[in-house]
Symmetry: D2
Subunit: 389 residues, 4 copies
């Protein structure tokens, strides 16, 4: 894609978010467990008219084939509203699932699962995390307790998953299950017999359609043709999915943090206290200055990691570094915005309060900060000084 | 009160919170804008049976007359559940209103307003803060725009208030209004003609019955007998109310933070990751060690400030120092607890997520951290080194 | 000691530090490895005249027998100059050595070693830490490599010690050596054959006479009468020494941090920038407000831990909590003071720069912050929630 | 310069620093006020042989004409030893002075002052800051008290300067003096009558030859041909000098922080504690992981700001953002390295302790963090959201 056509795409995206998406933020169909599917469909219809459904995807899936560097710019623009990524069909978990399917799925799987997902007419889930109360796999994949066993040309899956984002209402899920000492991924229709959405979690965040569910799989029978990629390669595919997925999270939430900063700045410029505008109080102005620096550093980290991925490297260490740096920086920004705005900051009168809650969860989703630091420390311990970035 | 009888009171309080109150935390009558009045009444009935309604109040109001030091211990125990202070009728804003009325109200006002409040059969509000969007008084009282003007032996009040905690459902409010260059406080029945609860704010916290409201006063007519204390003394009374009210906030939320820490500790001891219990990972264990230190430091600051108030000093500087130190420390604790618990921490599966949201608001309620630091800096600038604590 | 006589002692101490000790801070005998012994003796002569040599010691050692609570107040006053504790003979490592000897030494050892030390006419060292480059015991006592083996009614000690504070110029050392699976402490004259001060370390701090040395022990022959306490009880005695020694460090350095704050405040009140005094810039005023809070919290932690020790409890957990909280808080204070004072802060024109360097080392001496958090985490993991403070 | 020749230059620089410069770090000619001129000359002789004197300068000054982006890479490599920039003649303040002279000086001034400086055979100073005790200009140029008044075809300068880095031993200084309402810069030989180096400051840092001096100018008579650029343009030239000078500080000290990290990493990998290498303790490993992230973010900020300057923009805001972000990040790194290494970290046994002290000063030199945040806040308050980066 040329630089000009990218600039044009970004300008259209900015306008679409500002003029079309943001007014929907106060739509009553925003519920406690995320926007309703009807609201999502409403948004997507508008994105379709605007030619803005998943423009980053490869041309064969209807997109314009952006590399990670261009995707970074697009997703940051889309994230300026928490509804933007949904409207443009580039939100988690669908976006990461599309990325994985495009790399690993068979032609038949692509037709059956990926195309409707890319078109934004279905939703999907990624069932990997397991419930803490059963000592299942949280951030430690070696603790995987969901099991798949072969049964003729089928497999039978038993287990229980948690934090299954968007499972309620999804057409299908990618299910990670133990197969012997390894793990395998399966494409499972959510209306398969034996699948039950046990309950929706009440989480601090609230912009993912379908929310986060606990899902039980009781003897779910799946044909072998629904294995995603090869048997026993689940952990490897998880890495294929995770490094870019972490990074797209950073991109989208960067946009939200920028939004919060702009709102807080506007508030601080207008609101008076103790005889002058808030922003002229160093206690406030310094917070906004810190935001500016954190925004820039986060942007640079995202672009750097995107460049690493575009070079063909797996980017495991780089995406861990970026996830930690960006999620913690965006969190500081969101917290400062709330503080700058005082009572208004902790109220739903602006979207800042919601962004604050979303970004709190981001410090945990896709691996808590501490898990990433743990693997970075391992890498540092192994490496020759020059081997880590 | 003897040390033994205080210890006995605390032991009964601990048992009451643990056995009676905590089970109500998952009661469906907990709503988005705080627990319903029916739920509060249910809890209070049980507190009454247990002899635990507002035990800190003076004997003439049915309590046992605790000083600030003993109150600190009682409120920390009560705060172990966010519902505890409500059950025991020592929650904001009623508790601070009772404190002020007991010092300033006339005998007739005491009978009419304070006694039912102390008995826990009515609720009240404190209408001081004004909406940001009208440049009203946020944390800066000099910006007060609500006005009272005399009209024979009555006063007419016009204005608009925001963050009026508990106004929805309150029997009466204490209203701060400008009278010339000064301010005066009025006791106003909430069913007075001209008072409208415009809307409830959707705030990040959610344990205050009645939530936080925007209230309009249009020509509200109040007899002169409803002036609280003397005309033009409103700012002085605000100080009488604010220093101890800040401190009781610290006490109650300390209990909540202790609760979150105990839950996170239990999780970290039980939950395994990467081959050992979470707590044996220094990344987690250090967070709990930091909590331990922050809890102790907060407790010591509260007790120190309570001692200052018990000595008869106004404690303005000391309560600002304590409010900043304790709210920020409890916030760090709550944030670490969420992080230790990963996905469970950002879900409603434990009360930790709610405590996290409550304490976020505490950094703003009763004066944001920055406003207190601003007045501390002023005091430091004025003072001889030995004059500030 | 009565409250009045304590207040009188503190007033005399404050005056002595201010009028007598502080002028010596710019004495040319302050060298890179600490003040010369001649300077120390000059200061002590003045303290003797003022009746202020080690007033906290028991009467039988010439003091007034202060408990830990009173000691806390005294040492904070003495620490207001980095030379104060030296002048008054209550500096590390002598002060901790006196504390241990008073509890464990035989009457003969008391006469031979403790009395001259208490009188301030000799100095001593505590040889426990071992060099990092030989994998000796840093903060982990189980790695002790210095060995003592019996030889008739003598013991032969071989090993190498590092960070031996004050060893150069000391009359004797307490040497920790492995004896089988345990460890034993020995009182060793520094002029014994086989003892060599290999070199002085160039450390960031610089107020301990004799500096910090690397000491080699080659077949040092010690009579059995020089065993301190009982054989194989070295680790236990180390605990007896360490908890109070950590706390007295906190007390003394608190005084230094208070000094730095007072100097920085004076600078901020007087110095103009951008049209007003520095302190009226929130960026500066907020730092001083944070100092005020950190000073108060540190003082409260010290007093709490002193109370625990006065109750007869060993205070291991409490002194770890206090060491972490206070050293980190004093560090923040020292760093802010430097920053408030700009170029003057990083110059030797005031004592702030030196205090900054001293307190940096304090975060490592007597157990780095991380080692204490590690043991706190262990305690939290073991304990019932109510068992840790 | 081609990419290949830049890579080759960097490889030669890395080898030169490692093999030639680092061994000089323990040279006895390193003194309290910086390395002696003899040591500097020794180093430069070697750099000359290696063809590594100021390779970034324009070809007409003997260099290879690097842009800011390439300079960033070169200076980071050079900074790996605190002596590296001195050896290669790209240290402050000479480097910034050369930059300014190359842009503003007359041909005669270039021959007389710049050429010997570029060749590394003289040193220079930049006399702008004034003593705090006289309310002179610290970071606030409007407080400039040094005055120049015309006297025929000469000017007479009177005033007093502080933090005059390298003034002792410099051949000449650039002196900033008030001329009416504006300021003018003069090139002044340091042996001019009326110039006195009053004293050297004892500062926490110690790698600048000549240290930091207080300089008095008593009726110093300077011909008009020694005006640098135009009369009354001093403040504008200060900006020309300051933005890139801030950035080159960031570059050089980045190298030092990288060095400290590599040393601390080596220590943590080798040193055992509590049964495993230090780095396998998360308390240590996480600190190194944080270093890795801070190093990368700092590098990215430097490269971003270099790109802005290479685009021809003045980069005032960008260099302020970068100075704050990088100095604070490098400081965290240095502090963590000290902490990781325990006692060794606060000793002179490695260069980490010195780097720690250097970088502490960097948070103040070239504008304290707070002054930069203050101007960033002003820019944010003025700007349309999209106008600041």
């Amino acid at each position: 894609m040329t630089r000009d056509s990218l600039d044009e795409l970004l300008a259209r995206t900015d306008a679409f978010i500002r003029d079309v998406v943001i007014p929907f933020e106060t739509d009553p169909r925003m519920g406690g467990h995320g926007p309703s599917d009807a609201l999502v469909e409403d948004l997507r219809a508008r994105a379709r008219s605007a030619g803005l459904i998943a423009p980053h995807l490869p041309p064969e899936l209807g997109g314009q084939g952006l590399d990670h560097a261009a995707t970074a710019r697009l997703f940051r623009s889309a994230g300026y509203s928490p509804l933007g990524p949904l409207a443009m069909n580039l939100a988690a978990p669908d976006e990461g699932n599309m990325h994985l399917l495009a790399r690993v799925a068979t032609p038949a799987q692509i037709d059956r699962f990926l195309r409707p997902l890319a078109a934004g007419t279905t939703r999907s889930a990624f069932l990997m995390t397991e419930p803490a109360d059963e000592d299942g796999a949280g951030s430690d994949p070696s603790m995987l307790r969901t099991v798949a066993r072969p049964d003729g040309d089928h497999w039978i899956i038993d287990g229980r998953k948690s934090f299954a984002t968007g499972a309620e209402g999804a057409a299908f899920s990618i299910v990670m299950a133990r197969t012997g000492e390894s793990a395998t991924m399966f494409l499972v229709d959510m209306d398969s017999p034996g699948i039950t959405v046990e309950r929706l979690l009440d989480t601090i965040d609230g912009t993912m359609p379908g929310g986060h569910a606990v899902v039980r799989l009781d003897g779910v029978r799946v044909p072998a043709t629904r294995i995603l990629g090869e048997v026993d390669q689940g952990f490897r595919y998880a890495q294929v999915r995770l490094a870019p997925a972490r990074l797209t999270h950073c991109m989208r939430w960067w946009g939200s943090a920028r939004r919060a900063h702009d709102i807080a700045r506007g508030y601080a410029v207008k609101r008076q206290a103790f005889g002058k505008p808030l922003i002229d109080h160093e206690g406030v102005g310094f917070m906004l200055a810190d935001n500016l620096i954190d925004l820039k550093q986060s942007e640079l980290m995202i672009d750097w990691c995107a460049g690493v991925l575009d070079s063909g490297a797996p980017g495991i260490i780089e995406s861990s570094m970026t996830k930690v740096a960006v999620s913690e920086a965006l969190w500081r920004i969101a917290d400062r915005c709330v503080q700058v705005m005082g009572g208004t900051g902790v109220s739903g009168d602006t979207v800042v309060e919601q962004i604050f809650r979303e970004i709190r969860a981001f410090r945990i989703y896709d691996g808590p900060t501490e898990v990433h630091k743990w693997s970075l420390a391992k890498a540092i311990g192994r490496a020759h000084p020059g081997d880590v970035p």
